[in-house]
């Protein structure tokens, strides 16, 4: 979630659409001594670095490669590759500027439908439910969210939600 909103801020500030954005977290942090472009890649988890000292970016891109570990507080910065990629896929499926629709779905989900101990399945279910409530159950936006989670190995089980309005929606970048 932090990576999602961090990337959205970057995309908004650079006025980048989903195709132009680099979807990297921490790009430019490494010195030339490190073989890598960033800490994490939302678009291609596991490819951000491959370095003799740091090792290879350990992030999985789907549930089939979920890392069960006691390290990293249970792999929270490792397995985040899975929901990160789901967001990239959803935003790409919707198209345009990621903060306008995909970002809104994730934001509404974060503030209204998830708790501190929610897991990936809950995130898939809730983002799908919120997308349906915001854009309609037959909308391309909701379908993009469902397809995104399916690609990373999670079948969304949406629950019925009261209709949400687009009030306070993210608008185009002020010029």
């Amino acid at each position: 979630m932090s990576d999602v909103f961090g990337s959205l801020v970057k995309q908004w500030s650079l006025n980048e659409n989903v195709d132009k954005a680099d979807w990297l977290i921490g790009a430019g942090l490494f010195t030339k001594a490190v073989h890598g472009v960033a800490l994490r890649s939302m678009k291609a988890p596991g490819t951000a670095y491959d370095d003799p000292t740091l090792g290879k970016d350990p992030q999985p891109a789907d549930m089939a490669h979920y890392v069960k570990t006691t390290q990293d507080s249970g792999g929270v910065h490792i397995n985040s590759g899975i929901p990160n990629r789901a967001f990239f896929l959803a935003a790409s499926g919707i198209g345009g500027f990621a903060w306008q629709k995909a970002g809104l779905i994730w934001y509404r989900t974060l503030v209204g439908a998830l708790g501190p101990s929610s897991g990936f399945q809950a995130a898939a279910d809730a983002t799908t439910s919120v997308a349906g409530a915001l854009f309609g159950d037959t909308s391309v936006e909701r379908k993009a969210v469902v397809d995104a989670w399916a690609t990373v190995g999670l079948k969304a089980r949406p629950v019925s939600m009261p209709s949400l309005t687009m009030a306070g929606k993210a608008t185009a970048r002020p010029t």
């Binding site: 921490g26 942090l29 490494f30 010195t31 001594a33 490190v34 800490l39 994490r40 370095d51 000292t53 740091l54 090792g55 350990p58 006691t70 390290q71 990293d72 507080s73 249970g74 929270v76 910065h77 490792i78 985040s80 501190p116 101990s117």
Partner: protein
């Protein structure tokens, strides 16, 4: 004595790991390392030392020490607790041992390693 030290997690999620063996150290350093490990009570620590509450961005440390006759691994957080017993100092003690042994303590998240000359073994 052999010590493996691994740090994972943090916001960056970068894994740092290093290993040292006391027989590769100068004799005074090896002696100091043994003293610090003994003082830390490392072999009596539980295998897991979890923190109160979930703070996903904290570092997780795993330290394995093999003194030739026994091997023990502890995974946990710096301010972890174990079975209600305060174990806040376990890591500081172990890291002190690691420093003294020039295990390689990192001065940033991003791959800059302190050299021996930057981290002299304290005189005791």
């Amino acid at each position: 004595m052999r010590i493996d030290l691994e740090r994972t997690g943090g916001v960056a999620g970068i894994r740092l790991a290093t290993t040292t063996a006391s027989d590769s150290l100068p004799e005074p350093a090896a002696r100091e390392l043994t003293r610090l490990v003994d003082a830390s009570g490392f072999f009596a620590l539980p295998a897991r030392i979890d923190a109160d509450g979930a703070v996903g961005d904290r570092f997780t440390y795993t330290i394995t020490i093999d003194d030739g006759s026994r091997s023990h691994t502890v995974t946990g957080e710096r301010r972890g607790r174990a079975r209600g017993v305060e174990a806040a100092d376990w890591l500081a003690d172990a890291v002190d041992a690691a420093r003294a042994a020039e295990l390689g303590i990192w001065n940033s998240e991003f791959g800059i390693r302190r050299t021996n000359s930057e981290f002299p073994i304290p005189n005791s």
